[in-house]
């Protein structure tokens, strides 16, 4: 997956979480705005609400599906063959709304309000993890 935001300052080697431990699926490190007490994704150089500094912080990685769509026609070549897939806004319990995917279940089974938990998947950049969400019940 091409990540335009991987050029953001917080992804520079000295600012990245160590070897991006997030990839291992345990650390759940996400960009965080302390001033607004929320996580954000896609990542930004500055808090999208108040322009405060953004730092990496561990999230509990639990939340609920706020809204979603099932994509039937991928817009980018990288996603071809993965349709149908779910693009969703997730409300994290520890603050913030992030853009992500719901995986690990049939796209047709997703509902607004579903409880989900975060895991990271690999991208074409070996050092970057992409947070996705799966239903809490199937992985408890």
């Amino acid at each position: 997956v091409f990540c335009y935001w991987s050029r953001h300052e917080i992804f520079r080697p000295e600012k990245r979480p160590q070897s991006h431990a997030a990839l291992e699926g345990r650390a759940r490190l996400l960009p965080f705005c302390a001033a607004h007490v929320h996580f954000c994704w896609p990542p930004a150089q500055r808090c999208p609400k108040c322009h405060s500094d953004i730092a990496w912080k561990q999230s509990e990685g639990r939340g609920a599906v706020e809204t979603f769509s099932i994509v039937r026609r991928p817009a980018q070549a990288e996603w071809k063959g993965k349709e149908p897939y779910v693009v969703a806004f997730i409300r994290l319990d520890d603050g913030g709304r992030i853009l992500s995917n719901v995986v690990g279940c049939a796209a047709e089974d997703v509902r607004c309000g579903d409880r989900v938990k975060c895991r990271f998947v690999e991208t074409t950049d070996p050092e970057l993890g992409l947070p996705v969400f799966e239903p809490e019940k199937s992985t408890a």
Binding site: W41, P42, P48, S69, I70, F89, R97, L99
Partner: protein
Amino acid sequence: MIADPLRLLDCSPVSDGGAAVVVTSADRAGKGRKKPVRVMGAGFATTHLHLSAAPTLTAHGAGLALDRALSFAKRARNDIDVALVYDCFSIAMLVNTEDLGFAPKGNAGAAFRDGEFRIGGRLPINTHGGLLSHGYPGRAAGIGNLIEGVVQLRGEAGNRQVANARMTMTHGMGGLFATHGVLLLEQT
């Protein structure tokens, strides 16, 4: 189905195209071969950059941009004779039409079905078909809406002409409901 619940005809067709307007002083405008229209007011509003940071997912900044343009122009909403609303997708048309104050929240769909926004209706919207029917040539799409406003004010719209169109409102949008611009044009 493209992306639930949007089907093929809910999405504006990406197309080739171009558009341009000439902006000049009132003095020079009168010397052209075409009848000029007057820019009465402009307004902009940005509520977020990425949609994930939007204050709500059901109302955005179009109405605030229109309020600012009306204040600039010293005009009121009911002075608008034709509205050109940015409709990259059918849902954008509904949300923006409501945010602009032309229908109560949740009622734009019913108002369209009842013919309130057709030519001869309460407020004709997107007389040229908008992005959904006229096409989506990238950045030129928004200027296409502006040009339809000019065509209506000049009385050159043929069988889609709105009778006595004296003021038009053109609304444009950038990003995912992020940035809204409104331009009010009036007959000279």
